[in-house]
Symmetry: C2
Subunit: 215 residues, 2 copies
DNA sequence: TAGATTGTTAATCGATTAACAATC
DNA sequence: TAGATTGTTAATCGATTAACAATC
């Protein structure tokens, strides 16, 4: 039935939506029943029209003069993001960053379940981080296929990132969260999200130098 | 002398430039003397015109038919980003993520020098991470002012993020790299860069669910 | 009811892409 | 020289913002 009119949300919208979710959860804790786009916008220093347009992508209809029921909007956003159903992930690279990610309690609320970590350093193998075992990378493919793992997280050094990405693709993984600083190449049917710290640092550096005109 | 024509680079350009830098350093290691926008674009699957436009913001003039001297372009980019001169930073929140950041060797090449970490947990105080001392948060302001620290890094839990940001502003810090999941409010003359993992995860989640139409 | 907020259509703004003359 | 690449001006595209009728 006429799907051709459907337009997926623009990237900037998708990036703002988890921020709205956080604000709404805050309002929920405060015991608020209703939230308007204006309320959310005020808390985030955004324009109401932008929040309103963004929220339309969740598919939830608001009520004129009142806004949205907080509970319903939270559910609609979680559904929109796919955070309502759990996704199992394998992490590769059990270094400091990998360990930190494995310890994030917040991922559970985002449907992300890091099942195990993989590494090549023999002294790490068999030990656990936050209750999850560190396994030999050679077992990755077999286990990922058997457990139907959908998501892979790369927290390994730059030099091995592409090799690990290839392994993940081979193992049938459909989404890669890449914390290594190099862009990886994957087939079109695999989604990649780069999380390159140097990008954020670059933005901050430029902002900083434009604030304090050079001496 | 007519500065009014100067236009600062758009945010998407700033975000791509550190990626170009990495590619150029790769080419430098390979011993290449010249790099054209086309060369860089090819390695990153981007359009040459976009790379060319972006590079114009570094202020370096290219040579028709040959491109840019790799060494000069690297210098121009590092200068553009302010990565050629070191910036001292204080980090607050010596947990797993804070420790991971303190261990990143790569920050040195980006002009970032994390001088010390601060926390409130008494058992951590006095210990060191990667050779840097963990100090009591009560000493933050005094030390930041005395050492003229420009940048602050927040790797503390959401609940304390705003309080820490306020402290940083009070201590004269001009740029805040915020790894906590809450947006913080600061005066206009302070730059903030948010590094919220849930944003990246949201983008990946949506990509993933649009790739694999729901069962 | 009156007024605030929704959903939608139109206008604006800014970034990307195209076109092309200049040039080593 | 011929041809590839630069720098720049113009066209296109997409996101943001404005305007406004519908509505509880």
């Amino acid at each position: 039935m006429a799907m051709e009119g459907f337009k997926s949300a623009p990237l900037p919208t998708i990036r703002r939506i988890p921020v709205y979710l956080r604000v709404l959860e805050e309002m929920q804790e405060e015991g608020q029943e209703w939230a308007s786009a204006t309320d959310v916008a005020t808390r985030l220093d955004l324009k109401p029209i932008q929040v309103r347009k963004d929220m339309a992508f969740t598919g939830l209809a608001g009520v004129p003069k009142r806004g949205f029921k907080v509970d319903e909007l939270i559910s609609a956003i979680r559904d929109f993001l796919g955070w309502d159903k759990p996704t199992d992930a394998f992490l590769v690279g059990a270094g400091a960053l990998g360990s930190a990610l494995m310890g994030f309690a917040g991922f559970k609320d985002h449907g992300l379940n890091i099942v195990a970590a993989f590494d090549t350093a023999s002294e790490k193998l068999g030990t656990t981080i936050h209750g999850k075992e560190i396994l030999d990378l050679t077992r990755f493919k077999e286990l990922a296929q058997r457990m139907h793992i959908e998501m892979g997280i790369i927290t390994a050094p730059a030099v091995s990132a592409q090799r690990i990405a290839d392994l993940m693709v081979e193992a049938g993984i459909k989404g890669i969260w890449n914390f290594s600083p190099v862009p990886i190449k994957v087939p079109d049917d695999v989604a990649v999200q780069r999380e390159d710290l140097s990008v954020g640092l670059a933005v901050l550096s430029v902002k900083l130098s434009s604030l304090s005109p050079e001496k």
